[in-house]
Symmetry: C2
Subunit: 342 residues, 2 copies
DNA sequence: GCGAAAGATGGTAGCGCTACCATGCAAGGT
DNA sequence: ACCTTGCATGGTAGCGCTACCATCTTTCGC
């Protein structure tokens, strides 16, 4: 008696169909697919033939339900269009493309509340691992991460108290290095220009401030920020604001490269010589900083590598190999260019 | 006798726990959560209390298995870092953030083979809808989309033969409009500069060619392309190549804004006057085109809106409302700026 | 040559949820 | 009073897969 095609499920072949066709038990098919080493060469071949003939694809939902673990990486970032996170995400995708893991991404829009909501949603699927941007989760979110029961990698920052693992670099040091470079180049009235002051931007600002203070140059009127999202246009406006507040400005450390590019364009438009009258330093070193005229000094960050490293660590943890170091600092590099070559 | 906590499943509350606590059947809990209208006010309240007290979150995997349909939108794009797709994806995320649907994204790296692989993977989960970039799927991929058993929205282009639904605009018309604008502005030796000639770029090039030919201006030596990925730096190099091949070049239609920005920077560096000696038109109208100095004429595309519209159509189809029009053309806008104001 | 250990395979019983099909009951028509 | 109709609720039986345990075979030590 043939098993009647059930009312549900579009009639796609199941593991039982494969097992019947290959003349083995369903569990052996399951094993052949997941742990080939535990099935004899012969059966493995037989099963492969049946799989190919039927066009069998395992149902990830059934798999997740039965094994209480979904083959999914949950990835939470504050923005999808910000090139910085896009690069990290690209690193994550590339590292995972040959693995059985799928990726589920969430956009927190820089909101702690939204992050909590998404974390809850993600955790309900029992993901294989979670990758989240930043270390400033709400206590609620942190608890969710701690009890998620899977490896957790926080990315983009460094610190001593990760939930589980951490990959990134020091924004404070980056901000300080950028500012010190301007000081060394002879600039004195160095402004900080930043939009969307998320925790990472705050730390860069703190680094700027530390450098300025230890050189005896800090003045609060040198700092220009806005809660708006970064954009090149905004960079232009902020430089205008900064100059209005402090006409003697002779250098700017920009919170990111979009702002820096806007600042550069505004200088050209206002006929302010770069680097002579004003020195400019950006942050992240997007490709266009090198191509710009004049080319723009920037703090290069290894965003793609952060994504790759985060996945590598998560995969190791899944495989049961707890890494020797739970915190990896990938550092940054100050790339000196024409915009500060005075 | 209390039910022993099973060996599997971390002991999170299940629908049965909620049902017991609320003194109702499991199925009623299920209904109260998914179709509140079909459960009486009283029970609904009772169930809500139990849900809150237990901190119950439905298991999406079990749900997907039982209902043969996962609450997931599969999204396939060729690149994650290309701002164009990032914007579309942002529109998709924003439109879906208040819905129960999760998003699973795939990066095809502009590869048809990779697209097939991902499509197969995605389809195996029985997603609620699929959104894919472009209309040039391989026959294999197209079949997968047709038999996916869910709404499918192709995005970024327009055409008359979608798999199911289609949202975008005409790249051919965009390319033609940009080129015609240059011609009208008085430029004659107008080059096309493009990297990563995907099908959409090809259509823009075809539009350029049509405009040039009907003005009697086309010359194959005016076209400069490369298979490399677009970048600002590459724009600089390509302009150098184009000028070496054709020193009399007096205008360029750039396949995208990154290239256009590179072209602009190269002009400044080589002291070529823009728009006097060379006119520049970009494509997509990223924010920086407006901020640039001189500001750059570009073809504005409604990428975020494409994402939103795609989701709207998919949601309508899921709800059983087949849209009156299966193809939506969101058009484009030529934004004239200083770079062509001769 | 025998018992133990290790390896290969299979059967059974769920994972947590929902589709399907009752069942019970109130409202409405005749 | 009867039968219908519709609504609210519940029981049962899976969805397709894997964890767990049992069984059977093969290999090895002494």
């Amino acid at each position: 008696m043939t098993r009647p095609r059930s009312r549900r499920g579009g009639g796609r072949p199941t593991i039982a169909d494969v097992a019947r066709k290959a003349g083995v038990g369903a569990i052996t098919v399951s094993r052949a697919l997941r742990e080939p080493g535990r099935v004899s060469e012969d059966l493995r071949r037989q099963i492969q033939v049946a799989v190919d003939e039927l066009g069998y694809i395992p149902d990830p939902n059934a798999r997740a339900l039965a094994s209480a673990r979904a083959e999914v990486f949950g990835v939470l970032v504050p923005s999808l269009t910000n090139n910085v996170f896009a690069e990290v995400v690209r690193g994550i995708y590339d590292s995972l493309s040959d693995s059985p893991f799928r990726i589920q991404m969430g956009n927190t829009h820089y909101s702690g509340l939204e992050e909590e909501r998404l974390l809850q949603l993600f955790a309900s699927q029992r993901p294989a691992a979670l990758i989240v941007a930043g270390i400033d989760q709400t206590p609620q979110s942190r608890k969710l991460l701690e009890t998620a029961g899977c490896p957790v990698v926080q990315v983009m920052e460094t610190g001593h108290d990760p939930v589980d693992m951490l990959v990134g670099f020091s924004h404070f040091d980056g901000g300080r290095a950028a500012t010190e470079h301007l000081i060394e180049a002879g600039y004195r009235r160095i402004g900080f220009i930043g939009a969307r002051m998320d925790p990472r931007s705050q730390r860069r600002l703190a680094g700027y401030r530390a450098a300025m203070e230890s050189a005896g140059l800090f003045d609060p009127r040198l700092v220009t920020t806005t809660p708006l999202l970064s954009s090149v246009t905004l960079g232009r406006e902020l430089l205008r604001d900064a100059l209005a507040k402090m006409p003697s400005l002779d250098g700017v450390f920009c919170n990111n490269d979009d702002i820096a590019l806007g600042v550069l364009f505004e200088c050209r438009r206002a006929a302010i010589a770069v680097p002579k009258a004003i020195g400019i330093v950006g942050f992240n070193d997007l490709d266009m900083m090198q191509a710009a005229f004049p080319s723009v000094t920037s703090v290069r960050t290894h965003r793609y590598e952060i994504g790759r490293q985060a996945v590598a660590m998560a995969l190791a943890a899944i495989a049961g190999r707890r890494p020797q170091q739970r915190v990896v600092d990938l550092g940054f590099e100050l790339i000196r260019r024409e915009s500060t070559a005075r």
